[in-house]
Symmetry: C2
Subunit: 492 residues, 2 copies
């Protein structure tokens, strides 16, 4: 058999023997792969999942576990929130752009309540009917619902009725400190459901190369297992679900150079190979520069002060989604941020519950006056003073006309005052990848689907074009993973 | 013959008849195509250029004409400037990144003096030995050298010895108002040289589809001419040089959504088709989000005031390259800018020579005090006042510790004071495209060159990964176009 270490597709007539065979062959057993497996099996297909590591889970099992859903899910209703499909669409198009795939977001929002039921009723994913309203990346306990995109903050709350859409599966042993987070509690039931439906899995199998027939249809793939080449025939379709390219430095440098050296919430297996395997077939790409950017500081802390850039200027409302802070810091402010906070606010933050105590950095400078502080920080004379003066002038009335921070968090900064050095405190994962249809077909640059090839999750460009909301990845990974499985099962 | 309206490559065995034949077939007769044609012909190849419009020139012929060269060119020396290859490399890697192709920039800088000689001595491109030192996008007269990347401004001038590298061919009839700009005066000699070397050209020919043999080698292309399909065999190689995707809204939306609706310094033929034709063969891409972003305001005007964003905050040193102002405005400040300028500075600007009188916008608001001005502009109370106070405090000493504007341009803002509305005043063209080697081979996602396929100019990712300097496009288009022609001529 020809060597399949190359990324180039192999002609089917060069495959002398198929070692394994299934209707649907799925590469990757994270959230997209597991969702595809369940959906394909539910559609009656014989399904085989290939996982590169020794076990299922992928990055999803290690994630906080948010799934972005809305439009009036039972959990939203139980927690007392109203939401509509239209409001969800409006928010996602505004916050996740510019350049969002409108058809994909429409399908995602219109199908969101159904998706919730599928997760809960058909796959057994548990959600606790309680809302967590404190600032933070994730609920510290087992609450099921949180704002995860800045829906209730400026600039979106002025025009789009807000609803929390971050649904997190209930953690069975997390009363702070449990090891099994929301991501695990999503993946476990998905994998159990797949297994109960007869889905087979092979581990330590690394997809290398797609196999195409004379008509250009994908009919299988070649992988490596324990150093040996193994062939997998897909009678109906192949689903690619192997994650992002956050750990491929060459691709990062070519497409998302600001992310070089700062992968986070990601796993080393995210090497972009599936993207390149499909590119070798002429697959189109989208939004390769987009990235989730986490900001490594506890929101409980920084919401009580002001964030300034390397020149002492404010640049965002501190009460928005932390991922927006991360993007604004990395993309618009040279990855430089300082938190300016007074002693009272600092002390108050430390009495609040939070899931992220390890993100509570210590002040680097503490002074009696802002004038002294800016001098110690090495900022231009008057720069930070001007920022604080303007902020305090309006904060005295609970107003923030510069950025629209809510009155609840807008209080004048007093004395003593500290600065916390948050330069370089960002990291994340890539959001760009294969262009796919709303039915999760991989799209050729001609605009036509590549027959037999489907994809979902972070090896695709999903609902996020530039912006991000927590839950969008497990959200579109599960939603379009399901569609990938269904489409592959129906292909012929 | 099969229909070649599809972007998918055609197998050579389906081409019953070749209508035309040459050693090297070049798609596009702009700067990259013309440079490739000359170089291929100089190497002894029989060359045919296919141009989609009715004449040669492309976007290049309409451009200002800067070619970014340095490392000690005769023109730099004649104008009294010292430059080194190392300084040029350091600047380009700092200013055109992050994520620049180091090998490409190294080759470009090391070959720059030779490239100058090639343009002048072998192709007859004229440069006048005079330097234009006023702020502005382009010299208003026929001077040959200008700073075009912010080399002599913050932040670069602090660490990298500055030299002007924007070389503009001498305009024969431009004593202000001449129609033939520097770009034309580059293209005319290049095309004349090509013609003298026996290069043939076919016009109204639109490349549609690449033709590949059984080994995957590109052996020709199919095009449309007057509505008919025409086949072109390339005995040695095909060179793609058809420009950017600035006019392909679908690609813009997928890759560079902030540029949707604002193409500039570009032509409608820039539809990205060559990129997609190569993608269909598995060609890799790079930096698809990158763009040149012009700022449509006369630098003579705005250098004498301060630029503030939609919140009244300064965000850049106004004496840097205008393209950096454009990128900072569009990418980092929501495409919102206002120029704050006092009457004296405003009047002074209007006595200065400038190439861009049409970019001298009128004040929208004029007031006696900044306090009144910020109120009329609808800015938060105190925001603009704070900005001007900090600026004036240091400008009194000719200093700008916030952004490092040079003392020459740093004067306190007095009264009366005006604001000019510059929101939305950006536009430009895309810089991303096919990944190519330093020898202008189109690179497959496997990392190997695609046999028989070469590319240069704005359908490729050149020396710019994110940043830009005027002259980089005609610069890398001509430099790597030349290499494309040479490589294609040598291919077999």
């Amino acid at each position: 058999m020809p060597d399949a270490t190359s990324i180039r597709p192999l002609p089917a007539d060069q495959i002398a023997h198929w070692d394994h065979e299934a209707d649907v062959v799925i590469a990757g057993f994270g959230v997209a792969g597991a969702s595809a497996a369940v959906a394909a099996a539910q559609a009656g297909a014989d399904v085989l999942v290939l996982e590169r590591t020794g076990g299922w889970g992928g990055a999803a099992a290690m994630a906080g576990g948010f799934i972005y859903m809305g439009g009036g899910t039972p959990l939203q209703k139980a927690c007392g929130f109203e939401d509509t499909v239209e409001n969800m669409k409006a928010f996602m198009k505004a916050a996740l752009g510019p350049g969002t795939d409108e058809a994909k977001i429409d399908a995602y929002c219109e199908g969101s309540v159904d998706h919730y039921h599928w997760l809960v009723d058909e796959c057994g994913v548990p959600f606790k009917e309680s809302f967590w309203g404190e600032p933070g990346w994730e609920p510290p306990y087992d609450d099921g619902l949180q704002y995860t995109g800045g829906e209730n903050a400026a600039p979106f709350n002025a025009t789009i009725p807000a609803a929390p859409r971050g649904h997190v599966p209930q953690m069975s042993d997390k009363q702070s400190g449990g090891e099994r987070g929301g991501g695990y509690m999503l993946m476990k039931p998905l994998v159990d459901t797949a297994t109960a439906l007869g889905v087979r899995a092979e581990y330590d199998v690394r997809a290398q190369t797609l196999v195409v027939d004379a008509d250009g249809r994908v009919v299988g793939l070649v992988a490596k297992q324990y150093g040996k080449q193994v062939t997998f025939r897909a009678r109906r379709g192949v689903v690619l679900a192997t994650g992002s390219f956050a750990y491929n430095d060459t691709m990062l440098r070519s497409y998302a150079p600001k992310m070089v050296g700062r992968p986070a919430a990601s796993i080393e297996e995210h090497d972009g190979r599936a993207i390149q395997m499909a590119q070798a077939l002429g697959a189109d790409l989208a939004h390769m520069d987009a990235a989730e950017v986490a900001f490594f500081c506890d929101p409980q802390l920084y919401i009580r002060g002001i964030l300034v850039n390397g020149r002492g200027q404010r640049y965002i409302n501190e009460d928005t989604y932390p991922g927006r802070v991360g993007q604004a810091t990395l993309y618009e402010n040279k990855n430089e941020a300082f938190l300016i906070i007074d002693e009272a606010a600092h002390d108050e933050a430390h009495t609040r519950p939070s899931a992220t105590p390890f993100l509570r950095h210590k002040p680097k400078w503490v002074c009696e006056t802002v004038e002294e502080l800016e001098a110690e920080m090495g900022l231009p004379g008057g720069a930070l003073q001007a920022t604080v003066d303007v902020y305090n002038r309006h904060a005295a009335n609970g107003e923030d006309p510069m950025f629209g921070k809510k009155a609840e968090w807008t209080k004048p900064i007093g004395s003593p005052v500290a600065a916390i050095d948050l330069r370089g405190m960002t990291g994340g994962f890539t959001l760009g990848g294969l262009r796919t249809s709303v039915d999760s077909e991989v799209v050729h640059v001609s605009g036509e689907p590549i027959p037999g090839l489907f994809a979902a999750g972070r090896c695709t460009s999903g609902v996020c074009a530039g912006g991000y909301a927590s839950g969008a990845s497990l959200g579109d990974g599960s939603f379009f993973g399901r569609r990938a499985g269904r489409s592959a099962a129906a292909a012929s």
